[in-house]
């Protein structure tokens, strides 16, 4: 609490909240959770395809973040740092459920067809419903690649999956989403 002083939490910058939370200020961390819960839960819901499970994992990820916050070197690195915790928490849960990410049903590459300009231009995707139709691994890789803007190598670093597998999952997942959009 000493680190916070007379800090107005609602108006404080995120970096200030993080520094205070690193000093074990629970109120500052709670404010940080309020600001980041939407992003964290959306990320995990996309990966999990199950809202209740995703919220449980998000809570677990925030608790881990609280316990490890002192390891965070700079407040600016918080989003990437927390994303890694969330993804690791998700992967550990999937491993407990014996989900297999490495295997690909059909390893042959899918032809990268050009989408029609009509489909690409004005289409509005029902993202959650479309993602629900992907496999766990495709959903994970597509979410991290397109949703979080991570490169293939960053996804490899975060998930531990082989580069070829990540590329395949991104390509196949994206292709499936494109076909769904065109069919809609």
């Amino acid at each position: 609490m000493a680190a916070r002083g007379f800090l107005n939490l609602a108006q404080a910058a995120e970096a200030t909240l993080i520094v205070a939370a690193q000093a074990k200020d629970q109120a500052a961390f709670n404010e940080l959770v309020k600001r980041r819960q939407g992003w964290a839960r959306a990320l995990l819901r996309r990966m999990c395809n199950n809202a209740a499970e995703a919220d449980d994992l998000a809570q677990e990820a925030f608790i881990k973040a609280w316990e490890r916050l002192r390891d965070l070197e700079t407040p600016a690195a918080f989003p990437g740092w927390f994303r890694r915790i969330a993804v690791t928490t998700f992967l550990m849960a999937k491993r407990r459920q014996k989900a297999v990410f490495e295997e690909i049903d059909d390893a042959s590459p899918i032809a990268s067809e050009e989408s029609t300009p009509e489909a690409a231009a004005g289409a509005k995707i029902d993202l959650e419903r479309a993602l629900a139709r992907l496999s766990d691994a495709e959903r994970l890789c597509v979410t991290l690649n397109h949703g979080e803007g991570l490169s293939h190598s960053e996804i490899v670093d975060m998930t531990g999956l082989p580069l070829g597998t990540v590329k395949s999952h991104v390509l196949r997942g994206t292709d499936k989403l494109r076909r769904m959009l065109e069919a809609a």
Binding site: Q26, N30, V33, G38, A42, A58, Q59, I63, A121
Partner: protein, 130 residues
């Protein structure tokens, strides 16, 4: 594919995020619970370390009362002998040396016991810290 990628990225960016339906409050309660547990854990560790320290101290105290006098007497005797030998009163080195070795051998068990107790205490303390 590139155009579709742009559409996809936009869809991700524009997708609505879940509203805070008490989620942050639940996290807050969970974090507070963890903190309470951590405090209890730290308290138990400190109490355990204190008890271990007292046990080691008491063991050394009992040991000192049981063997302290013998040990000090042996040591004093050997110091006196060494002093005598060094001052030139002794004609031979072999007898005092033999006697000193015997005394050292006699107290070696006690010395090893003390060392083992100290090492055990240190290991227990280290384990409690971990």
């Amino acid at each position: 594919m590139t155009e579709f990628n742009a559409v996809l990225k936009r869809a991700f960016a524009e997708a609505p995020e879940p509203v805070d339906d008490g989620f942050s409050a639940r996290v807050s309660v969970a974090v507070a619970g963890r903190e309470r547990l951590a405090k209890v854990h730290a308290l138990l560790l400190n109490v355990g370390a204190a008890i271990a320290g007292l046990a080691v101290f008491y063991g050394l105290y009992v040991f000192a009362t049981a063997f302290g006098q013998d040990f000090m007497a042996s040591a004093g005797l050997e110091v006196a002998r060494a002093h005598g030998a060094l001052s030139g009163s002794a004609t031979s080195w072999s007898a005092p040396a033999q006697s000193m070795l015997t005394s050292v051998g006699a107290v070696m068990t006690q010395v090893l016991l003390v060392m083992a107790a100290l090492a055990g205490g240190a290991v227990a303390y280290r384990a409690a810290q971990d």
